[in-house]
């Protein structure tokens, strides 16, 4: 036993990158994570805007109800989801996992974005209308740039949840859309554990997370405060 490796080798990394059953795990994970982020942001942006700008009957209750979705453990949804996706023919597809993760990610995203949006004064919206902006144009040209950092932070949280979530991802997939986390369990076989490959795969799973954190590093603190500075 030694702290410093005696023989430095990159064979395990090469093994992962040359074996399609391994690297497709990363591709699958990234695909459904990206899909999930896309769907979530598209749904959460208008929803958060509505919560931050309009008063309607039951708005506060609805907002709280959204948060309760985060309180249920994913395992509760496991069997119903499996049956639902199986019966509509979505089983073992990337979109199935992406949609399943939306259950947790959309409320989270609405919650974070609502905070950021509420810190933008309503007068900005009004000034834009007075200047003659149509709503979509205002939203895309003025409003979204103003909450850029909020969107960045939201994407970070979405990524983190979706990337490490294994329970739903592995139940809803079999071979075609298997997440990397599931493939990593292959290293444990009857003949022992392939520590080298497992370690290399583990390091590689951190890389995308580090990249994402790097890009939003200046906004994370504000993100944890959910934009409510």
């Amino acid at each position: 036993m030694t702290l410093w490796p005696k023989n430095l080798t990159f064979d395990n990394y090469i093994g992962i990158f040359t074996n399609s059953s391994w690297y497709m795990g990363y591709v699958n994970s990234m695909l459904y994570v990206a899909l999930n982020m896309l769907i979530t942001i598209c749904v959460a942006l208008p929803a958060a805007y509505a919560f931050s700008r309009y008063r309607f009957i039951g708005d506060k209750h609805l907002f709280f109800w959204l948060l309760t979705n985060l309180m249920a453990p994913p395992a509760v949804f496991l069997l119903p989801y499996f049956q639902l996706y199986y019966s509509v023919g979505l089983f073992d597809t990337h979109i199935a996992v992406a949609l399943a993760h939306c259950l947790f990610n959309i409320p989270l995203a609405i919650w974070i974005l609502e905070g950021f949006m509420s810190s933008v004064p309503k007068e900005i919206d009004e000034t834009a209308y007075i200047d003659g902006y149509s709503f979509p144009r205002f939203f895309i040209k003025i409003f979204i740039p103003m909450i850029r950092s909020g969107i960045g932070v939201t994407l970070f949280f979405l990524f983190m949840f979706s990337w490490v979530e294994l329970l739903l991802a592995r139940t809803l997939t079999a071979t075609d859309a298997q997440p990397i986390g599931m493939i990593m369990t292959r290293t444990s076989t009857a003949s022992g554990i392939d520590w080298g490959t497992l370690a290399a795969a583990g390091v590689l799973t951190i890389v995308p997370g580090i990249l994402v954190v790097y890009f939003v590093r200046n906004h994370i603190a504000k993100g944890f405060a959910l934009g409510r500075t």
Binding site: P121, E123, E126, T127, I130, D131, G132, Y133, P145, M146
Partner: protein, 366 residues
């Protein structure tokens, strides 16, 4: 373009914010909305702009009913108390944005943005972003955006409140100049009577959501139609002393009485509130029949190069507005001279029943 508000009521959550406002603004006029905070100035402006819909009543522009017309189609512009600019755009793009949306040719945009920027003295800042500017410069940018398009109605909601004193005076004077050449209705909300007097034009006095008085600023100042209006339109507020009017005399209490002004003699004897402007009470007698009152000093408040002296007589408190800086100590016993010929009289319902003849003609600040 003229603007006509007809019987406007605005009720939010059972609370009446504006009630029964009738107001007609002339084309090309400069109008000041004067009132304390929560008097309904902002709400009234938002109704004029179309950002909010009145609960009852109609709004006409040029005789056309625009009550339900959205703000985008009304050709108005507005400057808020907060400095509102688009942070993701440069000052140039901020000012140009209303023109760009109206598909103005680029050459025309450049020309107009240039001339507006020059007028507001921000031509050297055009390529900066709003958050890199000082408060005054940010507000100038917001004003530039409001002025660059030929709006029919320009609304200023206490635009200078968050600026320092000197800058405020400077911008206020410029603002007045900017409007001389235009043929649009300008509405300017403020809480400060002095600002209203400095801006001139017309003044509408608002109190608790009701329009008390509307007319040329100096006239509203000189001839307030009621006690609230008089109190609102004077800084420090006009002194109100309750008293009794008999056929020939005014009695403030049993011991204090003096022969009343001939003008007051036509009123039916009874209880009235008498108003006297803070600047009319003096430390030295101004005329032979001034009433000498022994008072104790409460506090001397120095504001700029003026002193507001708060004193108390044994029956009522008074405020004096003195030019120059005077030093007094608490509980100093002094004599002040109360002008018996410059009294406003208000009946117990708060309506003006008498305006001193001296007020009709000259205008004194205060």
């Amino acid at each position: 373009m003229s603007l006509h508000l007809q019987n406007i009521d605005h009720v939010v959550g059972g609370q009446s914010h504006i009630s029964g406002v009738n107001l007609e603004l002339e084309p090309g006029s400069f109008n000041v909305l004067l009132g304390r905070t929560l008097a309904g100035k902002t709400t009234l402006m938002r109704l004029m702009a179309g950002l909010e819909q009145p609960t009852r009543g109609r709004i006409f522009m040029d005789g056309k009913d625009v009550t339900g017309v959205s703000v985008r189609k009304r050709n108005v512009s507005m400057v808020y108390q907060q400095f509102i600019n688009y942070p993701s755009m440069t000052v140039r793009d901020n000012i140009a944005s209303p023109l760009k949306l109206a598909n103005t040719p680029q050459q025309e945009i450049d020309r107009r943005v240039g001339s507006i920027a020059e007028m507001l003295h921000i031509e050297h800042l055009l390529d900066r972003y709003p958050q890199e500017l000082s408060g005054g410069q940010q507000q100038r940018t917001a004003m530039g955006r409001a002025l660059v398009k030929d709006a029919d109605l320009i609304l200023f909601d206490e635009p200078l409140v968050n600026l320092d004193y000197k800058l405020r005076e400077e911008l206020r004077d410029e603002l007045r100049e900017l409007f001389k050449a235009r043929n649009c209705i300008a509405v300017y909300a403020t809480t400060e009577p002095n600002e209203a007097l400095a801006l001139g034009g017309n003044t509408a006095v608002l109190h608790e959501g009701k329009l008390l008085q509307y007319g040329p600023t100096e006239q509203v100042y000189r001839e307030p139609n009621g006690r609230h209006s008089a109190e609102m339109f004077s800084e420090p507020p006009i002194n109100i002393v309750p008293g009794k009017l008999t056929a020939t005399e005014i009695t403030f209490d049993q011991s204090l009485h003096f022969p009343c002004d001939p003008g007051l003699q036509r009123l039916t004897p009874g209880d009235y509130d008498f108003g006297v402007r803070a600047s009319h009470i003096t430390l030295k007698p101004q005329s032979a029949d001034d009433l000498e009152l022994p008072v104790l000093v409460d506090v001397a408040e120095i504001s700029g190069s003026e002193t507001f002296l708060h004193v108390r007589h044994e029956r009522f408190p008074l405020v004096l507005h003195l030019a120059g800086i005077h030093e007094f100590h608490v509980n100093d016993a002094i004599n002040v001279y109360f002008p018996t010929h410059q009294l406003y009289a208000f009946d117990k319902q708060g309506s003006t029943v008498h305006i001193p003849s001296s007020a009709q003609g000259s205008v004194a600040h205060g």
